[in-house]
């Protein structure tokens, strides 16, 4: 402790005697270490903590008396500890801001008591006790004679076995250890410190100056020296301050903060007291933390600075790395400034090749320089012009024109103006802002690949085609599937170069570049960057290149990039779809010779890549249309006949995406594609099977297609694929196909033959929702058959179905209710459903917000009510259930209305329930619905009305609510079901004379007379009954008249 304090602590220069400790970071570290030592002393060494110091440590304290609590006797002006020494003297005594402490125990407690002031207390203590060790242990232990220290201690140990002495010894050793610890701390601290010197600081300032000024883009508003005079050593501080290591003072005005007065010293940069007004004097006192350099300091002080600076950051660090190899490690600051400067030089140099190109220097002399300019010349020229103009402004950012992605994009945009008139949405501009943030993070901890890739990109930029090819090939050796490498390529500006390479005449470079782009475009961020940099139109152009390898690679890259909407749009707008479809049109000779050249590859491969890209593109509706219009379907159909799996997957994938469109399904049918889809269901490739099943699922909406699937023997493979449940995606697709296929009765019979029903029941548990929806949908269709209902019940399918009624997935609920309803047709199954409380669950689904679910639940309730024992009692047991149903008649969804009418028909079979719903106002609600053209609703409405007539004066009420006249018109419908239901309703209504009159007035008799001739017996009967009622009334009237 002694040595450390004497030698290393930074005492102020004002004489040894009354010296004070300066508040430097180093001293702070030392004090903190000492505090930690003292604080833990009482716990780590309880025995030694009681040791009484030879002399008390005495200093002037700022602590309040109130800071001392338990363990102290506090009077008005003094505090003394309860703990006393042998002689009864307190071990801590405080009087009028003088404090005396005589043990480590008390010191520890004091540190606790001091709380936030502990640092100042420790400082005061050390300042007042320049040699604490002597005071604690006595003069024998003076630290100045360190060599003999150890001997001394040994000596003492040998001499005394006094316990007090032993403690002393222990403390001496502890203090020695602390001393060593402090020394090592100091060393570490010093090694961390970077000393600034005038030259880099000056460069730093000049650089910042040149980027300062008015406007949003600059980093600062202004930065100035306080003094214009510069001493020969580069400092501007007055000599008496230079002694303290200060070099110059600055007035900095950031965009978003007050002007700052800053001292640049050897230790670092800090805020000083500022200029005292009007005069030239500066308050030199440090007012804030010390930062390692000006940039760090300003970043801390001004958010705007840090933001604008970060835009430059990559550039600077890039340059920094560039020269790292050939420069001996200099001081950090020098580096940053130096590189940034050389960066500007370099960007000027980069333009040189353009001049060569323009001046048409002989090809022979400069072959390496102008080969890539040929095409790109236009862009480059404009960028040169830009940067020259902007250099006058002296703004750092502008010199980065050739690198910054945003600018390149702009340049390219202006180059081909024709494109993209559709405005870019706001979300896209957000995307643009995202990358810089990310880059900044990436700077934090850069892997070694980053630097290697940066070097390679440098060669890509500055090399001729030979060097470029070598660099490209070497880049491919990195693990391009790894995000670090993908982002590294982008962050060092590699994407721009790679994309620019695509625009040259050099086929080999294009191939190399695409091979890399193809890999890194698996990364979603990179995809966006590629689109932002205008890579897609170039790649689309390459699709019409004469070289097959190029076409393939471009298509594959497009396949990766076009994974998001905007990219797909760009592909379409640049005619990519037509060109991709053209790639599919390969000559069908499989006997092509193996190609010896880099540029050639097999036609099949070209078609495969085209299909791959189309698959990605086909996720947008407009692209589906474009593919169809470009004649893609027949080509896809032809490719479907091949047997290469890697060809079939993208082809089927594309078809499957497109089959969501009606006119595709028609085309698919016309091109006889189903046959091949079915064939490929038998493939060994799970992915292929999945896509085929998915395509069938999409197409089987159509009845003819469903029959085709059966005729081509597709049902058996589908059924057998059900048994493999590991691959959930495939299972979902297969069950989907089965669901849609089972809409046709013949298919259901086939499925039963293949024992698919049992398997489906087995799939009702432990499957993801996507699978469940389809499984339940399929069961719902299958259960329309009696045999299948029996199978489902026997396999225990009803319980899982009912338990699925509590789910929340809407699609699933629609299917489950349908399946449960189908099962409920069977009285034996109904018993099970009833026991499981399935009806209540169905009923509660009437409250589901989605109309499809409501309707489906209401439909399912019908057979339940029909087949349940004591149905009336059961229905009444649902509190508020009947009111709920009646109120659903207020819905405006036709399907819901139809289903609820059907439910009401069944409910009304029970007289008591009919009474209840009548009370809830079912009659006016039904009457209101009467004016409809929907045959389904008409039928169920008529049935409901006919049922509801059975109670009280409901018949009259229907007449009063004007339900009769519309009903008569139902007889003109073309649907016999409507006729039957209507005739029955009219028959019921005709029991009331007023209704008869209304019917007669609306010409019901003639219509009903026709119905009497119908082959449908019930209809005949009802129509005849109705006519007879009308006739009887007429007769009675006549009779009355003549009497």
């Amino acid at each position: 402790m002694g040595v450390a304090l004497a030698r290393l602590a930074q005492w102020t220069a004002a004489g040894y005697g009354a010296g004070t400790l300066e508040l430097t970071p180093l001293n702070e570290v030392l004090l903190k270490e000492i505090l930690v030592f003292v604080e833990h002393f009482i716990y780590d060494h309880p025995q030694e903590a009681k040791f009484v110091f030879v002399e008390p440590l005495e200093w002037k304290t700022n602590l309040e008396l109130s800071a001392f609590e338990s363990g102290y006797i506090v009077s008005k002006t003094t505090v003394s500890s309860e703990e006393v020494d042998k002689d009864g003297q307190p071990l801590l005594f405080l009087s009028v801001s003088k404090i005396k402490v005589r043990s480590f125990g008390q010191l520890s407690q004091l540190v606790f008591a001091a709380k936030d002031a502990r640092l100042t207390e420790a400082q005061a203590c050390i300042e007042a006790n320049r040699d604490p060790v002597v005071k604690i242990l006595g003069s024998d232990y003076s630290t100045m004679e360190e060599d003999s220290g150890a001997l001394n201690i040994l000596h003492k140990i040998a001499k005394g076995d006094d316990p007090e002495n032993e403690k002393k010894m222990k403390i001496a050793i502890l203090l020695k250890q602390l001393d060593l610890h402090l020394l090592s701390c100091t060393l570490r601290h010093i090694s961390l410190q970077i000393h600034l010197n005038p030259v880099p600081v000056k460069k730093d300032i000049e650089l910042l100056k040149s980027f300062s000024g008015k406007g949003e883009q600059t980093v600062l508003e202004s930065i100035e020296y306080t003094s214009d005079f510069e001493f020969s050593n580069g400092c501007r501080a007055p000599p008496w301050r230079q002694v303290r290591g200060e070099m110059c003072y600055l007035l900095v005005k950031p965009h978003d903060a007050e002007a700052l007065c800053v001292t640049c010293s050897v230790q670092g940069v800090f805020l000083n007291g500022g200029k005292t007004d009007e005069e030239e004097h500066i308050d030199y006192e440090r007012k804030g933390e010390v930062y390692k350099d000006l940039v760090t300091f300003l970043k801390e002080k001004s958010a705007k600075f840090s933001e604008n600076m970060s835009k430059q950051e990559i550039r600077i660090s890039e340059e920094q790395q560039k020269n790292q190899t050939d420069e001996v490690l200099k001081k950090e600051q020098t580096d940053v400034v130096h590189k940034a400067m050389s960066g500007i030089d370099k960007s000027k140099l980069e333009k040189n090749p353009v001049n060569f190109g323009k001046n048409q220097m002989t090809r022979r002399l400069e072959p390496s320089l102008n080969w890539r300019i040929t095409v790109n010349g236009k862009d480059r020229k404009s960028s040169v012009k830009d940067s020259q103009e902007e250099k006058h402004g002296g703004k750092l950012e502008k010199t980065r024109a050739s690198i910054s992605p945003g600018r390149t994009q702009l340049l390219r945009k202006s180059a081909d103006k024709a494109e993209e008139t559709i405005s870019e949405s706001s979300s896209e501009s957000e995307e643009d802002e995202e990358p810089p943030d990310h880059r900044q993070e990436a700077n934090a901890d850069l892997p070694s690949e980053y630097w290697q890739i940066q070097k390679l990109v440098k060669y890509l930029k500055g090399g001729n085609q030979t060097a470029t090819v070598i660099a490209l090939c070497s880049m491919r050796d990195f693990n391009l599937a790894q995000e670090t490498c993908q982002l590294a390529i982008r962050d060092v500006g590699g994407l721009e170069v790679l994309i620019n390479l695509l625009d040259t005449d050099e086929v080999k470079c294009k191939i190399g570049s695409l091979k890399i782009l193809k890999e890194i475009s698996h990364n979603p961020q990179i995809r966006r960057n590629i689109v932002d940099l205008g890579g897609l139109p170039i790649m689309v152009n390459i699709l019409s290149s004469p070289y097959k390898t190029l076409k393939c690679l471009a298509a594959e890259t497009i396949a990766n990039v076009a994974k998001f909407k905007r990219a797909r749009r760009v592909v379409r707008q640049h005619g990519g779809i037509t060109r991709l479809v053209a790639l599919l049109d390969c000559a069908q000779n499989s006997a092509e010779p193996a190609q010896s050249s880099v540029y050639e590859t097999r036609d099949v491969e070209v078609a495969r890549c085209g299909a791959l890209a189309l698959w990605s593109c086909s996720k947008s509706y407009s692209n589906k249309e474009a593919i169809r219009k470009a004649g893609g379907i027949p080509l896809l159909a032809r490719l479907l006949k091949t047997s290469h799996e890697n060809m079939l997957i993208p082809v089927v994938g594309t078809l499957q995406e497109c089959a969501s469109e009606e006119n595709y399904r028609a085309a698919i049918k016309a091109e006889r594609i189903i046959e091949n889809l079915v064939k490929n269901l038998n493939s060994q490739n799970e992915q292929l099977q999945e896509h085929c099943a998915m395509a069938i699922y999409q197409c089987a909406e159509d009845e003819e297609t469903r029959d085709l699937v059966r005729l081509h023997g597709g049902l058996k493979p589908l059924a057998s694929l059900l048994n493999n449940t590991d691959n959930k995606e495939r299972l979902a697709a297969v069950t989907g196909a089965i669901w849609k296929c089972s809409i046709s009765k013949e298919n259901v019979t086939k499925f039963r033959e293949y024992r698919a029903i049992e398997t489906l029941v087995g799939l009702l548990t432990d499957q993801p929702e996507e699978v469940l929806v389809n499984v339940v949908g399929a069961l719902g269709e299958c259960c329309q058959d009696y045999e299948n209902r029996v199978i489902v019940r026997k396999c225990g399918g009803i319980q899982p179905l009912v338990s699925l009624l509590v789910g929340i997935n809407q699609a699933l609920l629609v299917n489950v209710t349908k399946a449960v309803g189908a099962c409920a047709v069977e009285p034996e199954s109904m018993v099970i459903i009833d026991r499981l409380d399935g009806v209540r669950l169905l009923w509660s689904l009437l409250k589901n917000p989605h109309p499809d679910v409501k309707a489906s639940a209401a439909w399912a309730l019908c057979p339940c009510i029909q087949n349940a024992k004591d149905a009336g009692e059961m229905v009444r047991s649902f509190v508020g259930g009947l009111e709920l149903v009646v109120n659903l008649l207020k819905s405006d969804n036709k399907e819901v209305l139809s289903s609820v009418c059907a439910a009401i028909t069944n409910i009304a079979k029970d007289q008591e329930n009919l009474a209840v719903i009548t009370d809830h106002g079912v009659v006016p609600l039904l009457s209101k619905l009467a004016n409809t053209n929907n045959d389904k609703l008409r039928r169920h409405l008529a049935e409901a009305i006919s049922r509801c007539c059975m109670w009280g004066r409901n018949r009259v009420a229907f007449g009063e609510h004007k339900a009769v006249a519309p009903l008569v018109r139902y007889l003109k419908s073309s649907d016999t079901n409507v006729h039957r239901a209507t005739a029955q309703a009219l028959f019921q209504l005709s029991e009331d004379p007023d209704n008869c009159i209304t019917m007669h007035e609306n010409g019901a008799v003639k219509l009903l007379l026709d119905m009497v001739g119908s082959p449908d017996q019930e209809l005949q009967e009802a129509a005849a009954g109705c006519i007879s009622n009308i006739r009887r009334l007429a007769l009675a009237t006549e009779k009355a008249r003549y009497n």
Partner: protein, 215 residues
């Protein structure tokens, strides 16, 4: 040259030539004599294309620019090393140049790159061939630094047995893995575009080509 002689020559050459048919050989022979031009008439001077004439063709027709590589290509054609490409060498050379299999091209390219013919492409040879491939940057202390680095990169990529030089086995393995490395140290084969143009012109209507070459 009379018709009979030409026919005979065509037949012999066609027999030995893998990649051209008789018509094509005929075209190439005609082209050759067109190019040689008047020189053929002078007695005592061997009939053929000298280094400069050949380099001129490489430059004008196939867009080659690198002096050293063109010299090496000339040596590749000039099998008997007499500084003069004769009609046989012309046809055989072009056969490989335009239609060679990957194996043939690898062998040829390796010979082009192996400057001293010792069976290895050494670091020095690579350096020599790549020395103009990078844009010189005055800011760098050692202007050759980049080239040296590039050589190391190439070596890292292709030197499978880690002996610090490329044997043919190394080179072949690298090319089979990455076909772009066939012309790793400089373009010594025609680029596909000029090749197509050349073939289209020569084999379609040699007279046209002749007219273009000697306006």
């Amino acid at each position: 040259m009379n018709r009979k002689k030409l026919q005979k020559l065509t037949e012999t050459l066609t027999k030995n030539c893998k990649h051209f048919n008789k018509f094509e050989v005929n075209c190439l022979i005609k082209l050759f004599y067109n190019l040689v031009g008047d020189a053929a008439e002078r007695p005592g001077v061997p009939i053929g294309l000298d280094r400069n004439a050949f380099r001129n063709i490489l430059h004008m027709t196939f867009g080659m620019t690198d002096d050293m590589i063109m010299d090496r290509v000339f040596r590749g054609f000039n099998k008997d090393n007499d500084g003069n490409i004769k009609v046989t060498e012309w046809v055989n050379g072009l056969s490989l140049f335009l239609r060679g299999s990957l194996e043939e091209k690898m062998k040829y390219c390796f010979e082009v790159f192996d400057l001293n013919g010792d069976g290895f492409i050494s670091k020095e040879e690579m350096f020599h061939m790549l020395k103009n491939s990078l844009l010189k940057q005055p800011s760098e202390e050692d202007p050759d630094e980049g080239i040296k680095d590039l050589v190391e990169i190439a070596l890292k990529k292709m030197d499978y047995d880690h002996d610090g030089k490329l044997s043919f086995a190394d080179y072949e393995k690298a090319v089979r893995e990455e076909a772009l490395l066939l012309e790793a140290f400089g373009p010594c084969l025609p680029d596909p575009k000029s090749q197509m143009e050349f073939e289209a012109q020569v084999f379609k209507d040699p007279n046209d080509f002749h007219d273009n070459m000697n306006p």
